[in-house]
């Protein structure tokens, strides 16, 4: 029983980790808080759903169809994120957090209502050809879903890849440079606006992956975005800013806490997650694993 709750919580946390990594990356590089983060995840999910419907005659049957659509969606999302940062969000950055907050919050409201107008308020999901119902039997009589395990594995891989990108590549070095001191980095020949755009583009690849997986695992509806944003944010704060592994661990802890709450009373899961977040904020405001990125 306890083991089951723990496992389900970790699997849920894997998905939250994917939500949180993009938020952590964008905040780490340019101190931008994207309040539309959750809405972009939902938007990506609906884009995949629409893509599946439009391309249906050309797609192979089974699990290959959503994977193929996701493969198309990731580069589109990359370009979208790059353009959004380069030509809209860069202009809102500065010492005052208000402009970027208002613009992303405005985008959040616009996306929600655009999706509501286009797709109605009904929850939708992506058919994963039986993957979401398949389960793996573990010793001890516990069974776990195949799809959640795949999602957790993907989240771990994405965290490792981001950490490698940040710590070991020239792109990562430019991220760290503009994060530490934008002006000095620019004197060294970097164009901060392009570096920011690249970071947001990478975050949007994660957003697209998270959206598709969320829609495969459960359902999405146009108003889901804010809740996803809050989970992602809580994971970042619990984990401690500046370390992607910390963010993932924060997400796993949040998943386990919510799962314990859900088991006590279906109305308590999210509430208990919020309380855990507030407790960390009071007791250890720097998060559990604080580290400067890189």
């Amino acid at each position: 029983m306890m083991l089951d709750v723990l496992l389900q919580g970790l699997l849920l946390g894997g998905l939250y980790g994917l939500f949180a990594l993009g938020l952590s990356l964008v905040f780490g590089v340019m101190r931008l808080t994207n309040t539309a983060h959750g809405d972009f995840i939902v938007l990506a999910a609906f884009a995949a759903i629409a893509g599946l419907a439009v391309l249906a005659p050309m797609l192979p049957a089974g699990i290959a169809a959503p994977l193929l659509v996701a493969a198309l969606l990731l580069p589109v999302s990359f370009g979208f994120g790059y353009a959004l940062q380069r030509w809209v969000l860069n202009g809102t950055l500065g010492r005052d957090p208000l402009p970027s907050l208002v613009v992303t919050f405005g985008l959040s409201i616009v996306i929600q209502n655009l999706l509501l107008e286009t797709f109605s308020a009904d929850p939708r999901s992506i058919d994963s050809a039986g993957l979401s119902t398949a389960s793996l039997a573990l010793p001890g009589g516990v069974a776990v879903g195949a799809l959640p395990v795949a999602i957790l594995a993907f989240a771990v891989a994405a965290t490792a890849a981001l950490q490698w990108l940040f710590g070991r590549t020239s792109i990562g070095r430019s991220f760290r440079a503009v994060s530490d001191d934008r002006e000095i980095a620019e004197l060294m020949g970097l164009d901060a606006r392009k570096v920011y755009a690249l970071a947001t583009a990478i975050a949007f690849v994660l957003i697209a992956a998270a959206g598709v997986l969320q829609a495969m695992r459960t359902t999405v509806s146009p108003a889901d975005g804010p809740a996803l944003l809050l989970f992602a944010f809580e994971a970042v704060i619990i984990g401690g800013m500046g370390s992607f592994w910390g963010t993932l661990v924060g997400a796993l802890l949040l998943g386990v806490t919510q799962q314990i709450g859900f088991r006590l009373d279906p109305g308590w899961g999210i509430w208990l997650g919020h309380l855990a977040f507030l407790a960390v904020l009071v007791v250890r405001p720097q998060g559990l694993f604080p580290k400067t990125v890189g």
């Binding site: 808080t33 405005g106 209502n113």
Partner: protein
Amino acid sequence: MAATVLPVHGVGTMRVVRATHASSAALVAGLAATALAATLPLWAPVDSASSWMRNFVEIACYLIFAMMWNLLAGYGGMVSIGQQAFFGLGGYAMLVLGNFAGVNAFVAVPLGALAAALIAVPVSFVAFRLAGGYFAIGTWVIADVFRLSVANVAAVGGGSGTSLTALRGIAKATRETSTFWLALVCVVAAIALVYLFLRSKRGLALLAIRDNEVAAESQGIDVRGMKLAVYVVAAFGAGLAGALYFVGNLRISPDAAFSVNWSAFAIFMVVIGGIGRIEGPIVGTLVFWLLNHFFSDYGTWYLLGLGTLAIVTTIFLRQGLWGFAQQRWGWSLFPTQRFLLP
């Protein structure tokens, strides 16, 4: 015009003037409008008076809430997406006092606001751990905690909410007129409170903090205490708006009371009108009301347009509509600055 005479070296004496021609005119116009509104139940035809009064109460709540958000974000530099926490708390505190403690519901309105202000003190302890954009989302989480907590309290109807039974047995006309007058008093008091606060010495300290926190602290200003004071006053105002709204509405639910839309509307109104100036939320509320009046039938498109308008204003007209007017024509209805004239 009230003027202080100052000796200035090399020039002779100079006067410190705080009023402008526009502000004197605005004061007269404001008093006339208030008098006209206050007597509305006496001269307006009964049918239309009822709908006007209901409209006014709703707009008054939006205006008070937006003014308090402007105080918090525009002057205190604390951008929050969680002020609906205090809006909902004000409403629920009013309802509990009225329904269960037998307090007159109209008296319970300021008491509800007081309750919201009291709760803001421990809440600030948690919220102030975060800054900037993370403060914004952190306050949103806190508001969500209140929503989920109230939804688990069976005595106030849980998730589906409950009705304000304290006003049972009062004639509809009496109830509507009393609510209208209360709303009018609250609006005038809120504007006066914010204006006088900003003109005072503490208001000057607040402006200094907004412009540069470190520099203000080095001049001996108690930054933390000042921020706490602003947070608590803003919570009081948000609670007042909430309590007033649900006296007019007679029905409350966690999803309505703690909806993030309250903060969304406040942010949009303040940004469109012009943040960091008292005229901003007033102009923004007027724009919001006009849009609501003509386009609210379009539902989602209306919200979509409002969000887009806020984005466009932020990118191209950072100072908002009133800020533009102020720069272009030098209008200032609520001057907080001091002019030095020979």
